[in-house]
Amino acid sequence: MTRTETAKPWAESRLPFLGTWRRGLAAPVLSRDAPYLGTLPVLITATLVFMTLSGLVLWVYYQPWHAYGSISFIERDVNSGWLIHGFHATGTTMIFGAVFLALFRALLLGEYRAPGELVWFLSLGQLILLMLVGYLGYLMTGGAVAFWSLAQGSGAAMALTGFPGAIGAWIFGGADGAATLGRFAVFHVALALALFGILALFFAARRALAVPGVPRNAVGFHPYYTAQYFAAFVIYALIFAVLVFFLPQLGENPLNQAAGSPLLLPVGLAPPWYLLAVGAIAHVGPGALGAIVAVLAGFAVLFALPWLDRSTPAAPTGGLYRLLIVVLALDVVALSLAAAAAPSTLADVLTGLFTLYYFLHFLVLTPAVTAWRAG
């Protein structure tokens, strides 16, 4: 035996691929300046895995025919059920927080511009799927607000005619709440699994964006980025733990803790925090079709952003544009707060104004500012 062979670690000499992995992980090919926020996509994926596992436990006990009662049973009578349910409910807040933060960062840095359009589209697809999954999960709670949101949504869908009506009837399976929740439980799981597919495409497309060649002063993934990922993961877990154990109802409408009942109509149907902005934009559109068109338009301007931005792709986004993105984020927060407030004329007017600014930002301000900057 030669010296190099005997020096190999025990496991690697028996499973050579372990050595290939180790050398691959330690190979100095990565640039040194990846920030902590660059770990967000991995944290999102990890949360999704965590949600799948906690969801699996909840699925064992969940009964769409007694939705509220079965969740109450999980919380009160299943061993550690309150913890698993808390993980699943607060995991939603964590994953949406991470996705919104990642999208904000992509906007701020102009990462949606060529050649990053596909990565941007996949991020948006991830947001839309996640919102659908979140909305279905929220309806599945069977709480008073969810119950009436479902009654309103399915009623509006049943009233549609022609092709939209057929789609609506297929999704809701009639205006009956219990039968609908059985379908939604299936959609909730199927769409959540589809999210893994979107994430896989996202990582593949993002990898293709990497500049070929080894950067100057390159470092290996291990130990440099493993240490960074570990630190990011622990900080994320700390925030998660504080929310699960000390603010378990954060961002929820408290009225949704009451059982859904035809005899109890909540004042206003404010959804959980991550759906407030979309709900507000839907509210602006007249009628069911108007609501659908308004929401589609809200997402369409995001998809059109690579073309609405007239700047040179490689150039930095510039101070004025960054300020506009911060204002846009504040506008979305304000829109959410207006939607969460008790129904009033003032809240309606503010919702309209903030929605108007949202579209103004993408359709007027973005092309104007970026074209002016590109000269």
Binding site: R76, W82, A241, F245, L255
Partner: protein, 239 residues
């Protein structure tokens, strides 16, 4: 029923550690409030006495079982004795029965109260914004109606609810119950205690959640310091 409850509560009060006397009524506050608060078992037991003597005659609390009362400091035998005094359709209640629903269905309840169905109280504190204060203000909000107020038939003037009218007659009055631990049973005290009990009913895992949570968070704070320090040390060595 009431005498037995009193005996049970008295027995427990003798063995349980006494809470330090504190004016929790001015302004109304509860030990479970705040990030690290926990339930006051003495208040929960007094609150259960009020609940069982007053509220339970009209309201259901279907998510609760008699066995859950052991979390209030009652022994299994005490709770079994207590449950056996509750008559269900198929005989006396056992530990594993849900709290008795005084009406067979909402329609019967509605018929008994002129259309106003008494809500289920399992999650009442959790399902209202600022639930503790909401319940307390509702229970202590009954006043004489001002001369210019139009009160609906079968309703009572109450400054604690939206619209200032409620179909529930004033449920509490001074000396409605006799507390075994010597606490003076004023209307405010009864309201405060039953509110504490309903808060526990809404969120029975609060004590465990905060105890586990504190350990987890402390561990993660320590781990965060360690992880960030490690990361910085590893990166410093490359320069």
């Amino acid at each position: 029923m009431r005498r037995l409850l009193l005996t049970v509560v008295a027995l427990v009060a003798l063995t349980a550690p006494r809470a330090v006397a504190e004016d929790t009524l001015n302004p109304p506050h509860w030990q479970s409030q705040g990030a690290l608060g926990s339930y006051d078992l003495a208040a929960l037991q007094r609150g259960f006495l009020v609940y069982q003597t007053v509220c339970a005659s009209c309201h259901s609390a279907g998510a609760l079982h008699y066995r859950d009362l052991q979390a209030l400091g009652f022994s299994s035998d005490q709770v079994a004795a207590l449950a056996s005094n509750v008559k269900l359709a198929n005989g006396p209640a056992t530990l594993d029965d849900a709290f008795k629903n005084p009406f067979p269905d909402p329609a019967a309840a509605g018929a008994a109260f002129g259309g106003a169905v008494p809500p289920d109280l399992s999650s009442i504190v959790r399902s209202r914004p600022k639930g503790l204060l909401y319940v307390y203000r509702l229970l202590t909000g009954y006043r004489d109606a001002p001369a210019d107020a139009t009160i609906l038939p079968g309703h009572y003037f109450n400054i604690g609810v939206a619209g200032q009218q409620i179909a529930m007659p004033p449920p509490l009055k001074d000396n409605q119950v006799q507390y075994a631990d010597g606490t003076k049973p004023t209307t405010q005290q009864e309201a405060s205690d039953v509110t504490a009990f309903l808060a526990w009913a809404s969120d029975p895992n609060l004590n465990t959640r905060r105890k586990v949570g504190l350990r987890v968070v402390l561990f993660l704070v320590f781990l965060t310091v360690l992880a960030v320090a490690t990361k910085r040390k590893i990166w410093r060595e490359t320069v």
